[in-house]
Structure formats: C-alpha cells, structure tokens
Amino acid sequence: MNVGDPIEQSALDRRWRLWASAAVGGILVVGAVIGMLVLPNFQRENAALDLWTAICRAVGITEGSPAYRQPITTAQALPVSQVAWDPDVLDILANANPQQGAQIAAQVCVACHGENGVSSVLEYPSLAGQSSAAIYKQLSDYRSGARVHELMTPYAAQLTVPQLASVSVYYGRFAQQATGLGGRDLPGDDYIVKLAREGDSARALPACDSCHVPGAGGPIETPVLTGQNLQYLAAQLRAYKTGDRQNDVYRRMRDISEKLTEQEIDGLARYYRGVLF
C-alpha cells in the first residue's frame, strides 16, 4: 500500500474516514431500527399495544412490562416487624446522639445489660458485639409490640424513636471491641460445629454463621451470636420454635428453630456462649 503522494494520501484518508463512519453508522442504525421499530411492531399485538406505545416501551421511555395490568391481591400483609430499613430510619441511626444514649442507658439499661453491654444476668442478652441496627430493630419491635417482654415492652414504649436510636448507637459502639471474637474458632463437639458453620442441607438448615457473624452478608439487623449468654440463646430458639416469639422477618428463625432438636438447641447455645471481656 505504497501511497507516496500527499494529495493521494489525503484522498485515501478521506475515503477511509467516510467508509468507516458509514459502515459503523449503518450497523448502528440497522440494529436500532430492528430493535426499536421492527420488533416492537411485531410484538405489540400480543401485548395489545398501539405502535407508538410499543416503540416507547422498547426504547425505555415508557414503563415496560407487564403490558397487561396484573390483578392486585386484596390480601392484607401482616408485617411481623414495623422496622423498614429505609433512608429515614438510616438517617435516624446515623444522626443519633450517643451521649443521650449513654444517659438513658445509665438510668434504664445498665442494671440488666451491664455498663459495657455485658450482661451479668444470664437470662438477659449481652448487647456488646451487636450492631446498632440489630439493637434498634429489637427495641423498635418491643415498642411496636412485635416482640413482647414483661420488662422491655414498657421501657421501650416510654422512649421516643430518636431515644431508641441513641441507645442503640451507644451500645453499638461496643461492637467493634467485640467484633474480633466473631471470626474465631469456637470449641464444640463436631456435629454442632458443623451445624453452625455449614448447616445441614438435608434438612434445608442454613449455617448459623452464614448470617450471624460480623460481615457474613446477612440482613443488617442480624445479631452476632458469639459471646451471647447460653440461657438467653437457648430460650430464644425455643421461643421461635413454639411461636412465642414472632418478630423474625420472613419467619426465617421460626422455620429454622422448628427443625432443631432440643439437644441441638442446647448444643448451639453452648457453642456460641463465650466470655467477651
């Protein structure tokens, strides 16, 4: 391709520009015409649409499917929890005042849950190690009645939502100190360790650790189990099993607990028990 002459060279360059642009543009136009005009025209009849709407849908200007309005169910959902992780709730938590939380905690919470969130009463949960989202979810559920406890329900009902958030954030601050415990290897008998770490696929039981260790990727309100009090853990699993506790979204924990034997409940509670500090 020896084209020495500058005039000839520039004519050649121009031809390349022209034909390359035409080819690339042509392919683009053909693709767009088929995808955005021809196909919608063929498909519109099945969707009972006029041509213009079909084209607008194909281009993505008008909302797409379903073309037919779907029947809307009249069944009323009965949410087990009023907590929805929308921007408002996240803002409340993000802007909560931990000092205010500390004051409320000093007056109300420490008696049972300890100053650092470590409960000395084994029937009550330790809060250290839990994220503020996990604590907020439970406090909100007590407040709304989704979860019931003779002491917690009246306490939570007295507090405003911002106050709940400030307490959650206050206790959530101990999470970082306790997080290191989450990934450690806990001692336990082999069967229980396997159940906790791998689940039992034959019974469709997921691993506890697939949600309940920090960073596992489960729902953000999932509590961390490591270091939790034995009696409390066992009692909660039994409450889910019998249906006494029902504030688990999508029945996840009720479904799981129903499949656990009494021995497994005790074994898992023992496995996750630990001493935080």
């Binding site: 391709m1 196909l39 938590l93 994220s131 989202a133 999470a175 696929s201 034959a202």
Partner: protein, 562 residues
C-alpha cells in the same frame, strides 16, 4: 536444536540493544511478569480448592465465608493482577523491541508498577481479612471495606500510567518516523491502551461516585441499576483488554515462530480496530435479565456484540492462512498436509493450535451467551463460568504462557533447560481446562447455579451432578499441576545454558509501507467509539437521572451500618 522460538541466536547487531541486560526495560518487564505469575499460582491453588468445595467430596476448611473469600481472591488475582500486570509488562517489552529503541518514559513505567503493587497489597489484605468477600465484580448494595476498592483503583491508576507510556512511545516514534507504518505489535498494544482508557471510565465512575462513598459510609443508599449499568460498560471490554496479548501473539509472533510469514498486516490492523470499536458498546449483554433496561437497547447492544465475532473470525482466517504458509514452506503438501508439517514442538505454535481449539468451544458458547433469547437458558449458571474460564483461562492464558516462553530467553539471557517440560506444561493446561469446563457447560445447561458455596447432594437431582463436578475437580487439579510446572520452567532452576537473543516479530507477506492514517492511529476510531457509546449507553444511563428509581440500602460486609 529444537530452538525455543524461531528466535535464532543472532549475533548482536551493533545498533540494536544487546539481549538480556541490553534491554533497558528488562527489569521492568520481568517485575511485571513475576508479580502476574505469582498471583496466578496462588489463584490456581484457590481455584482447585473451590472445585473441591463444590464437589460431593469433603474439602478442608469448607465454610461459606471461606468459599466467598477464596472466590474473591481467585477472581481478583486472575482478572486484575495476572491480566493487568502481564499486559503492562508485555506492552513495555513490545514498545522497546517492536519500535527498536529504548523506552523514553521508562521511569513512568516504574511508577505505574509500584502504584499497582501498593494497590494489589491493599486489596489482597482486605480480602484475606474477610472484609471484602464481594467477588471481583462490583455489584452493590453489598460493599466491602474501602481498602479493597481503593487498592483496586490504584491498580487501575498504575495501568493508566502504562496507557500514557504506550501512547507517548508510539507518538514519539511516529514523530521520528513520519509516514512510516507503526509496527503491528505496537499498533495493537496502543489499540489496547486506548481501549482500556475507554473501558475504565465506567467502573471508575461507579467506584468514585457510588461504591467508595458507600463503603466509607458517606452515603446510605445506592442506585444499583446505575451501578450495574456502569459496571457493564467495563465488564465486557475488560475481557478484550485481557485478550489483546493473545491476539498480538497470533499476529506478530506465531507466524514467524512457525517458520512462516503473516498473511496480511492490514487484516491485523483491522481486527485490532474492530476490537476497539465493538468491545465497548456491548456490555449490556451482561444485563439481559436485568429489569432496568428496555428491550430496544438490549437488542441494539446484542447486534453490536455480534460484531465482536468479526475480528475473531478474521483472525482465525488470517492466522490459519499464515500457518498454512509456514506449513507449506516446511514442505507440507495437500489439503491438510501443511498442518502436520508445522513445528508443533515449538511452544508458540503448539499454544496457538491449542488456543484455537479452546476458542472454537469457548467462542461457540459465547455466541449463545450474547443471544438475547438463548441467554435466558444459561444466565447465572455454571455455563457462564465455564465460558469465561475456557476463553480467558484457556485461549488467552495459554497464549500468556507462550508469550512468556517466547521472550524469556531474550529477557533472562538463558535458554530453557527442557523444552519438553515446556510442552508438557502447555498440554496439561489445555487438557485440564477442557476436562474442567466441558462438564461445567453441561451442568450449566442442567441449571447448576454459579456463585454458591456448596450444593446439597442429598437432593436426588443435584446428586446426579456430583460425578461431573468431580470430573471438573480433576481438571482443576491438572491445571494446578500445570501452573506449578510453569513457575518451575520460568524460575532460574528451569533455565539452561546462556544465550544472546533479540526477539524478532513476524513479517507480513506484504510488509506495510505507507498506510492510511486510519490504520496507523486512533483519532478516527476514538470519534466512532464516542458515537457508538453515546448511542448505546446515552439514554440507558441518562434514564437513571431523568427518572430516578428507588435506591437500595448499602450493606457493609465489613461492619454493621454504623
């Protein structure tokens, strides 16, 4: 002598850089290659364990969190470290050897390397700590620790420096050699650099405006549709970024190593330009099953995707023709006699042949993936995993090996101690990849899903998959053996006597004289890429701003929501 490469031991010409220590970028190239292959070896170990974990056999340390940690590290090491550092190292080598003069911006290359190293360490430590098990794809709302993303951004910044060096070296050369055709190897390398700059725009926007602010806790919600769209901008072109070195080897190394000439230099230039054009406006074929885009744009991008097959078909034709020239020059006769006459003991020739076999299967699978309708059958199944292992892990990576083998003597000044061991390594890689991915394809068609840590083999349907997963595991083990062999071959322990070699590229049957500006630079093609991107991605991205959809709550892998 079964010479490695038709790369004769030449007397060193006075004007050319002396081999080995004469190559100014020698240390830079070797540093890149060794980092790439070290990451590769680690990733191979993890990959084999992952196959074990998914099989019915009990794998050690098999938990879901270990599995996803491992998959993330495997993906990051293979897709970001092996590929990027190999491509950068090879680019510096090509710039010096194809242009026949030392790099002017060598120091910038070292800056790029060290920035990349810092980034790799940050990302790797983040993954190992378990705070970044988000796989190597950036799909919010799940987000990892910011160290992971900032580390990977540094790798990209290092690669941008490489792009700058490549483009600058070509410009300097063109200024000094007016009217001359840029050597094909360099033209292709710069095509890749230009494409990579375009490619990274999508993921850079996603990381800088969405993911990193989210991972730092500055934002609480994220528009996942927009994230997925921006990532799709990068996701397909990145594959072609990885693929370029393989094609550069097909065009500018294999014909000569087989003892022949390149059938057409122009065809090579056209292929690389077509890759630049049609790698980018096509990423939406990864989103065929996503609800956020309309069918019209999906169809348009499917049509454009179909055109990516054109440069591949051009290449298969041109390289087959070039090899036929070589075979006939070596005395091959008849319709297929030239195939038998090829020097199959030469690693580059062998690798090219094996790569083409894998390209046949992988490319065929790819045509199914890109078809809007058929995609629905295999979406998110093992079929997809099999496809990209066969194409990237197979066709492309085997050519990375071949390139390393071809240029190693000129980099180290030593020949390989055993070419037989080199061939064994290539054969094992090919066999391992086929044994691993063919059953994977089948299982994908049966619906086996990807991105899961384990299968419930007590389920009678899933139980029937078990034997085939074990076959894949055997393939994975063969691949691991091959990876260890590769490192052995490249280490000083695998090298033999001293040699002085200057790497020479394949010459075309008709060497290019003066070529049209369009085949010697990228100005025109950049304009056309911009037009294509505007048409293919303009409205699909603008719609998120014109009519903002509901956003998702960010889920931090590394902490609660505090």
């Amino acid at each position: 002598m079964a010479s490695i490469a038709a790369n004769d031991a030449l007397p060193v010409p006075a004007a050319a850089p002396a081999a080995g220590e004469g190559l100014r970028s020698r240390r830079l190239v070797l540093s890149h290659f060794w980092l790439a292959f070290a990451a590769f070896l680690i990733a191979c170990v993890l990959g084999a364990w992952q196959m074990w974990a998914r099989s019915p056999l009990d794998a050690p340390a098999h938990t879901a969190s270990n599995y996803f940690r491992s998959v993330t590290l495997h993906g990051v090491a293979m897709a970001y470290v092996l590929s990027t550092f190999f491509i950068m190292g090879f680019g510096y080598f090509v710039a010096e050897t194809a242009l026949g003069r030392p790099l002017k911006w060598l120091k910038a290359g070292w800056w790029g390397f060290w920035i990349g190293v810092v980034g790799v360490l940050m990302a790797a430590l983040a993954v190992i700590s378990g705070k970044a098990s988000v796989l190597y794809t950036f799909y919010p709302p799940m987000t990892a620790t910011p160290w992971f993303y900032i580390g990977l951004v540094l790798v990209v910044v290092g690669s941008w420096i490489w792009c700058g060096v490549m483009i600058a070296e070509m410009s300097f050369w063109k200024r000094d050699n007016p009217g001359q055709a840029v050597p094909l190897a360099m033209f292709a390398t710069v095509a890749n650099a230009v494409m990579w700059l375009w490619t990274t725009v999508g993921v850079a926007a996603e990381l800088l405006f969405q993911v990193i602010p989210a991972s730092l806790g500055w934002t609480q919600m994220v528009d996942v549709g927009l994230s997925r769209t921006l990532f799709s901008w990068t996701l397909h072109a990145i594959v072609y970024f990885w693929l370029f070195p393989a094609y550069i080897a097909f065009y500018t190394m294999a014909p000569r190593e087989a003892g022949g000439r390149l059938f057409s230099d122009t065809m090579g230039r056209l292929s690389f330009i077509l890759f630049l054009l049609y790698s980018l406006p096509v990423g939406m074929h990864h989103l065929f099953m996503d609800p956020e885009h309309s069918s019209g744009f999906k169809f348009l991008q499917m049509v454009l995707t179909a055109f990516v097959s054109v440069p591949t078909l051009l290449t298969v034709f041109t390289i087959a023709a070039s090899l036929e020239i070589a075979g006939r020059m070596r005395g091959g006769k008849g319709l297929f006699g030239w195939v038998a006459a090829l020097p199959w003991k030469n690693p580059m020739t062998l690798a090219t042949g094996l790569a083409f076999v894998m390209l046949f299967f992988g490319g065929g699978g790819g045509l199914i993936n890109m078809s809007y309708g058929m995609n629905a059958m295999i979406h998110n199944t093992s079929w997809v995993t099999a496809h990209f292992h066969l194409i990237f892990g197979g066709t492309v990576v085997i050519m990375y090996f071949a390139i390393a083998y071809a240029i190693w003597p000129s980099l180290t000044g030593r020949e390989f101690a055993s070419l037989k061991r080199v061939r064994w390594q290539l054969w094992l890689w090919f066999i391992g990849m086929m044994v691993m991915t063919i059953p994977w394809h089948g299982l994908g068609l049966e619906g086996q899903w990807r991105r899961v840590a384990a299968f419930d083999y007590t389920d009678p349907i899933i139980a029937t998959w078990g034997p085939w997963v074990i076959v894949s595991l055997i393939g994975g083990m063969i691949l691991l053996v091959s990876a260890v062999l590769l490192i052995w071959n490249l280490l000083p322990a695998g090298l033999g006597r001293r040699t002085v070699q200057v790497y020479r590229y394949a010459e075309a049957v008709h060497p290019p004289g003066r070529v049209p500006a369009a085949l010697n630079g990228f100005a025109l093609w950049n304009v056309l890429v911009a037009v294509l991107m505007l048409a293919a991605y303009g409205w699909p991205i603008a719609q998120f701003f014109a009519d903002p959809p509901p956003q998702a709550v960010i889920h931090h892998m590394d902490r609660g929501i505090d």
